[in-house]
């Protein structure tokens, strides 16, 4: 069973890498959207430093959401989902393998790009390590929650719009604690409670989201 799951992970990674433009477009979206803010609010360093954490997080949410359509949609369109549903590993684990692949190509690049954007937004030096830490804990949660939305909207018309309505409200807790942790770090307050709560969210979604998404996938085939 583990071997089959590794095969699924490898296949999704291979597909994403052979279609490298997808990853590039996602990172470019992240970079360009964040760099719009200095133009909009002006180059005042104090203001930029104040909004840096929030801007990076909100844009990361949007970028994650944009990448969700490739999680199950192409497998649904070409019939591969039939193959996955009738394969030997439980569908919940298959979803988990696909989410892991999604995070590696859609979450990890954001974590790499975030510190550079933080420089552009003049995030205070105390915030960088915390920024990377909260994004490393928070973005897998986003991919997991996003999988539920992606599975629920399979086969729906205009599923891209629908998925944002379903998923963005569920991203709010990650956003709140992700930004709060960075703000706390900059102002010298305790960061640990925020990280613990983000960790708890990840641990809770790790079994629940694949279960919910697998149920939605089975439903989509009927």
């Amino acid at each position: 069973m583990t071997r089959a799951l590794i095969q699924i992970l490898r296949r999704d990674l291979r597909l994403a890498l052979r279609q490298g433009s997808d990853v590039a477009v996602l990172v470019m979206f992240f970079v360009i959207t964040v760099s719009l803010f200095p133009f909009a609010v002006g180059p005042e360093p104090v203001i930029l430093a104040r909004i840096a954490a929030g801007v990076i997080w909100v844009t990361a949410l949007l970028a994650t959401m944009l990448s969700l359509d490739r999680l199950f949609q192409s497998d649904f369109d070409d019939g591969s989902l039939d193959l996955l549903v009738t394969s030997s590993p439980p569908l919940e684990f298959i979803v988990l393998a696909k989410v892991a692949a999604h995070w590696l190509v859609a979450g990890l690049p954001l974590i790499v790009a975030a510190p550079f954007l933080a420089v552009a937004l003049r995030l205070p030096a105390d915030g960088y390590l915390i920024l990377i830490a909260v994004m490393a804990i928070g973005t897998p949660t986003l991919s997991l929650i996003g999988a539920i939305g992606a599975a629920l909207t399979l086969g729906a018309r205009r599923s891209g719009v629908l998925v944002s309505l379903l998923v963005l409200p569920l991203f709010i807790p990650v956003l709140v604690f992700g930004v709060a942790a960075i703000d706390a770090g900059i102002s010298g307050l305790a960061v640990r409670p925020h990280l613990l709560i983000l960790g708890a969210m990840l641990i809770a979604t790790l079994p629940l989201a694949p279960w919910a998404a697998a149920t939605a996938l089975r439903q989509s085939l009927t």
């Binding site: 089959a4 095969q7 052979r18 591969s80 039939d82 009738t86 030997s88």
Partner: protein
């Protein structure tokens, strides 16, 4: 113990319409069933029921007396379903597509053999986007051999195949049945499976209704 796959008193309702009702079938080792019936009589729907992709609205499907809805993943290892869609990724090569599908089912598989049965060995390292429709179909069918599943479920397997490829399919089916395998195929045209029982799905249509759209998705 010889395997036996049966469906008992199956009812399937799609949307508001009853596709078929009171449908029963039974298939044992080395048996083949050819599903017949006009468009919309429920051939594809019945195949998807057999694959465990759909649930019957009433009635049970059993594999060796065990209800398949109890353990859908074990059932998944017993069947391989080839539907209208080829379920192959254009960006991967022929060999990558095949070994991926096979690794989902079987712990050990003979890739080379599966490629040879459908004459794909020379195409193994080509990306699938370069293949013709018939070659893609052959790739989809070669998974049957690689999956080592005892029950093959084929939905219009001969679509876009040339005569040579149909012969490959027939000999693959014959070899599968000689090894105790079972085959259920929905076909419109002639497909000469030896001693296959013909099964007309249309006879289970609810009386006084019009045929329902054939596609289940």
């Amino acid at each position: 113990m010889p395997s036996r796959f049966t469906g008992n008193d199956l009812v399937c309702i799609r949307g508001e319409k009853t596709v078929f009702e009171g449908l029963s079938f039974s298939i044992g080792e080395s048996d083949a069933i050819v599903l017949r019936g006009p468009n919309g009589s429920g051939k594809s729907t019945l195949l998807r029921l057999m694959a465990g992709l759909l649930r019957p609205d009433s009635g049970v499907l059993t594999w060796n007396e065990l209800d398949i809805s109890q353990d859908i993943h074990t059932h998944g290892a017993n069947i391989h379903y080839v539907g209208h869609q080829d379920a192959i990724k254009p960006l991967l090569t022929v060999a990558e597509n095949l070994s991926f599908a096979a690794s989902l089912k079987a712990s050990a598989f003979n890739l080379r053999n599966a490629l040879e049965v459908f004459a794909l060995i020379d195409l193994a390292d080509l990306p699938v986007r370069l293949l013709s429709a018939g070659q893609r179909r052959r790739l989809a069918l070669s998974r049957l051999v690689a999956s080592q599943a005892p029950l093959w479920l084929l939905d219009e397997p001969t679509v876009s195949l040339d005569e040579g490829a149909v012969t490959m399919l027939l000999s693959a089916i014959a070899a599968h049945r000689a090894g105790g395998g079972m085959v259920v195929a929905a076909v419109h045209g002639p497909l000469n499976l030896q001693d296959a029982s013909e099964f007309d799905v249309d006879t289970f249509a609810p009386t006084g209704s019009v045929g329902f759209e054939d596609m289940s998705i």
